[in-house]
């Protein structure tokens, strides 16, 4: 199981932004989606997820509202702001550069 500290710094932000770029989601949903999409490789703990969500919200990349979830209960749904979309693009580009570079170094050996 991958702890967030094992993730490269800033990757969690990318995962969150990417995940909610598809549709607004609550914290539990985000964690689940990342887990499923990564074939259970990436597991985001609550201790990392919620502070990250709150930080992204404070930074203005995402915003939240209280809505009814599938279970019929009120949940806090996060979605990207316009600034957040641009931020996602930047993070994606940076991720691709980084992972490409890492792949290069690794394949050299």
């Amino acid at each position: 199981m991958s702890k967030p500290s094992d993730l490269i710094q800033g990757t969690l932000d990318l995962l969150i932004l990417k995940t909610i770029s598809i549709e607004p989601m609550h914290g539990w949903g985000i964690a689940k989606r990342i887990q499923q999409a990564s074939n259970e490789v990436l597991q985001v703990t609550q201790g990392a997820l919620y502070p990250a969500l709150h930080r992204l919200e404070q930074q203005g990349w995402i915003t939240s509202e209280w809505k009814e979830a599938d279970s019929g209960r009120e949940a806090k749904f996060y979605r990207l702001t316009r600034a957040g979309k641009a931020q996602l693009e930047r993070e994606m580009a940076q991720w691709e550069r980084l992972s490409g570079a890492v792949a290069l170094v690794v394949s050299m050996a």
Partner: protein, 890 residues
């Protein structure tokens, strides 16, 4: 896009701060929802309810921890800390109320004084003048070596107005009071004759009716007036149909052409001056008449609005070239320059130095209060060293301790500032009520937003300034050292003692600068009062009277009126002497007549004989108490047809006839005929133009019964023991019996008039003395604080010394010596600064140099003496150290 992000960030921060309970509740709900989802999922996997909840909680980790981390993301801890710091600071102050009261009161006094003085500066110096685009307004004068500012000649004015390209508009005005009759007693209205477009030049418009245009300058059209709002309401009850109405002025029918709105301020004038402000009642047309070649008489004052982008200097040089052209044609225009001065400088110039001096003085007081507060805070910081050390040991960072001490400074400053504003409210009222006579723009002085903003800024600045020193000290706290020494009698505070000593030296130095300023002003003021005025102020009452040209057409009529009035006045039982004269002492008269011939003498090349000229009746010198030193006063002998009699002052005799003037002759005739010669029959004592002038100017008087041309404006001077009000009635009644359309105005006691000449000097002196006293008190508190603290620290040492046999007086001397040394350094610094700054004061001084050794010496001794007195209680405590107690405590 960036903008919208910052906006949402700001909204988030604000709601984290202000809606904290809701934000907390949301956080709790959010995390609970997660737990419940997790539990529900576990149930779906087949766990029972309690197992499912347990597993969910386990996988979540510490809820409190997550909550805390989320909270940290809000980044509001600085503000929260500040709030805590402020609350903590307030609690600390409550714990030592005496300390808090001293510090807050001294700050409040200084901040209040600064705000009050600043409100005067703001109203008088900073606010634009109440005219449209006032920065383009200038006054236009003639000028030469002898008369730096002289009125214009009307015909010259018309040439300037036609030929110049610098001005958008140009206008002229000349004092011309009018007497309103027709409803009860005659009333004198303060008036000016103005050229076309006078108000347009000022950027003002009438509220009703119209202002004068070029047609109104033609002779015969001058019988119309524009009323001030005040005169319209006072004399005509604010009648709606006033425009076009005929009213009786100077016994003539005048048509009301317009009414000005309230707040029209007189721009000030220099010939027959009245103060700037809402001081004018009526304006009426100036008619240009007579020979356009006549360029010798100067009596109208110029004002102009420059075109945008034109400077006063450029306008001046253009007018000078016009003047040079005119001088080729007209002899009267030779030897004159044109002077163009910004109106702002003309109006506020006379009080600018004084106001800046006061601002400087009050600023010094604030600086001293700051140093004092820093000093007291520092003393307390020392006794709180242990507290700081404990907090540092518990993990408070340097920044935290620094911020906390700074917060204390801000709390104190805020209290001082708040109280200071209240004091300023009272202070401004007192200031405005006591402003010197004729102070410009007094009506513009208010406490307003600018003043409040200024107060806020100086409050914050002082708080930061005096909070900084102890804050820096606190940030340096080394927990180990503090805790180890904190127990008792620590000695490792040399740096601290030195710092506080330095602050006290600074305080004493600044206070000395203020004291020296106050001392110089005091000496200068007593010099003023001690100087013999040259006339009697007590039991003399004066009044103004004007004989309108319309009813008193020639000098014969004027002479006759006074010849009949004065004997009747003298028969009144209240009056022991009576006379009339054109001028009163010390009221700003500075008109010279030049170009006369002195029998048997020649003027120096390029110069001409000149003297202040006046006209006075028999009885004038007696009533005014001006001594006849040689010869005689005017008498009945000096009639029309008799040889012209002349009375001169000592200054004129000294200048032109050092050998003795009685019987000598002058003439204005050119070439003189025998009957034009005027013979000096008397020499009177000197009276200066104003009490602060270095010497009297040469002056001559004609007898009213031989006046060379009609003098319609006269001052009645009577000697009497009666009250001014009662005398006013006597004068009005007597004059009314001769001519009911004449107004007797300005009934005033001569001592009151004379007192106004002192009022500016007195005002400055009182304020500076007040500030100096405040500064001295503050620095005494400072010295006492430092010495008392050092005595406390050295109590042990003093006890030991006394146990070893030191006498009380030796300990006393040690402590007093320490205080005196600090004060001495401060005094030396203060004296040095004052020597450097003294020159700034010199224009406000009379009869004392700005570096008067006596004042400097007296201030130095006073400051030292007070320092010793301030140290004495602390010194007494040092000698009270009981050796036994001290040793037992060891």
């Amino acid at each position: 896009m960036l903008g919208s992000r910052w906006w949402s960030v700001a909204r988030m921060r604000l709601s984290s701060l202000l809606l904290r309970p809701r934000v907390e509740r949301d956080l709790e709900r959010e995390l609970r929802f997660h737990l419940e989802q997790e539990t529900a999922e576990n149930r779906a996997l087949g766990m029972n309810a309690s197992e499912a909840r347990e597993a969910a909680r386990r996988s979540f980790g510490g809820v409190a921890l997550v909550e805390d981390e989320c909270r940290d993301m809000r980044r509001t801890e600085y503000v929260q800390d500040l709030w805590n710091d402020l609350r903590y600071a307030a609690r600390m102050l409550k714990k030592s109320p005496r300390f808090a009261v001293v510090i807050v009161l001294t700050l409040a006094l200084s901040i209040g004084a600064n705000s009050a003085i600043f409100s005067v500066i703001d109203g008088v110096l900073l606010r634009p003048l109440p005219y449209g685009d006032a920065e383009r307004l200038v006054r236009v004068f003639l000028s030469n070596n002898q008369y730096p500012k002289f009125p214009l000649n009307p015909n010259d004015f018309r040439d300037y107005r036609e030929r110049n390209h610098s001005f958008e508009r140009m206008a002229a005005f000349s004092r011309g009071d009018l007497q309103l009759s027709g409803n009860g007693t005659a009333v004198k209205l303060t008036g000016f004759r103005v050229t076309a477009g006078f108000f347009a030049t000022l950027g003002l418009k009438p509220a009703r009716g119209r202002e004068f245009e070029w047609k109104d300058e033609l002779p015969g059209n001058e019988r119309q007036v524009i009323l001030s709002d005040r005169a319209w309401r006072r004399e005509f009850g604010g009648a709606e149909d006033i425009v076009g109405r005929k009213i009786t002025l100077n016994s003539q029918p005048f048509t009301v052409a317009g009414v000005m709105p309230p707040g029209v301020e007189h721009p000030g004038n220099s010939y027959n001056p009245i103060p700037n402000g809402e001081t004018v009642d009526v304006w009426w047309p100036f008619a240009f008449e007579g020979d356009v070649k006549q360029r010798g008489s100067h009596y109208i004052e110029g004002i102009a609005r420059m075109k945008p982008g034109v400077s006063a200097a450029a306008a001046q040089s253009e007018l000078n070239s016009i003047m040079a052209e005119l001088a080729r044609t007209y002899e009267g225009d030779r030897n004159w320059n044109v002077l163009v001065n910004p109106l702002y400088r003309e109006i506020v110039g006379p009080v600018r130095t004084m106001l800046l001096l006061l601002l400087g003085a009050v600023g010094l007081v604030l600086l001293i209060a700051c140093v004092n507060a820093a000093n007291l805070l520092l003393a307390r910081a020392t006794s709180r060293r242990r507290e700081m050390a404990v907090r540092a040991a518990l993990g408070a960072g340097r920044g935290r301790l620094f911020r906390q001490m700074l917060a204390e400074g801000l709390v104190i400053a805020a209290l001082g500032g708040g109280l200071g504003v209240l004091m300023a409210v009272g202070g401004v009222k007192v200031l405005v009520a006591n402003l010197p006579a004729g102070f410009p723009r007094a009506a513009a002085i208010h406490l307003n937003e600018t003043v409040f903003a200024f107060t806020l800024v100086i409050t914050l600045a002082t708080g930061l300034l005096f909070g900084l020193v102890p804050a820096l000290q606190a940030a340096r706290t080394d927990p180990q050292e503090g805790l180890r020494e904190g127990g008792r009698g620590w000695s490792g505070s040399r740096r601290q003692v030195r710092l506080r000593g330095l602050l006290v030296v600074g305080e004493v130095g600044l206070a000395c600068v203020l004291l020296i300023g106050a001392g110089l002003l005091l000496r200068s003021f007593t010099n003023l009062l001690r100087t013999d005025p040259g006339f009697r102020m007590q039991q003399v009452v004066t009044a103004s009277i004007t004989l309108p040209r319309e009813t008193y057409r020639d000098k014969k009529a004027v002479i006759q009126f006074y010849e009949r009035l004065l004997p009747v006045l003298r028969t009144s039982p209240e009056i022991s002497a009576a006379g009339v004269g054109t001028d009163l002492p010390w009221t700003g008269y500075d008109d010279n007549v030049g170009g006369f011939t002195i029998e048997g003498k020649k003027p120096a090349p390029g110069d001409q004989f000149h003297a202040r000229y006046h006209c006075a009746s028999a009885g004038y010198f007696e009533a005014m108490g001006i001594p006849i030193l040689k010869g005689r006063a005017f008498s009945e002998r000096d009639k029309v047809g008799a040889p012209f009699a002349l009375i001169i002052n000592e200054a004129m005799e000294r200048r032109y006839w050092p050998e003795g003037a009685i019987g000598r002759r002058i003439t204005f005739g050119d070439p003189p005929k025998e009957e034009d010669w005027m013979t000096v029959v008397g020499v009177v004592g000197d009276v200066k133009d104003r009490p602060d002038r270095p010497a009297a100017e040469p002056a001559l008087w004609w007898a009213d019964t031989q006046m060379p041309w009609p003098f319609p404006d006269m001052k009645i001077v009577v000697r009497s023991r009666a009250e001014a009000a009662q005398l006013g009635n006597v004068l009005r009644q007597t004059v009314g019996e001769f001519d009911p359309t004449l107004a007797v105005s300005d009934v005033r006691r001569m001592d009151v008039i004379a007192d106004e000449s002192y009022s500016a000097a007195r005002f400055t002196l009182l304020l500076v003395a007040l500030f100096a006293a405040l500064a001295l008190t503050l620095s005494s508190i400072g010295i006492y604080g430092v010495i008392a603290y050092s005595v406390e620290q050295r109590q042990h040492e003093f006890g030991m010394r006394m146990a070893m046999g030191a006498a009380r007086w030796q300990v006393l001397r040690m402590v007093l010596g320490q205080g005196t040394r600090l004060a001495l350094v401060g005094v030396v610094m203060g004296v040095a600064c004052a020597l450097g700054l003294a020159q700034l004061l010199s224009t406000l001084l009379y009869g004392v140099t700005a570096r008067d050794p006596m004042t400097f010496g007296a201030v130095a001794l006073t400051a030292l003496g007070i320092a010793v007195v301030a140290c004495y209680p602390a010194a007494r405590r040092a000698t009270g150290a009981d050796p036994m107690v001290v040793l037992r405590a060891e």
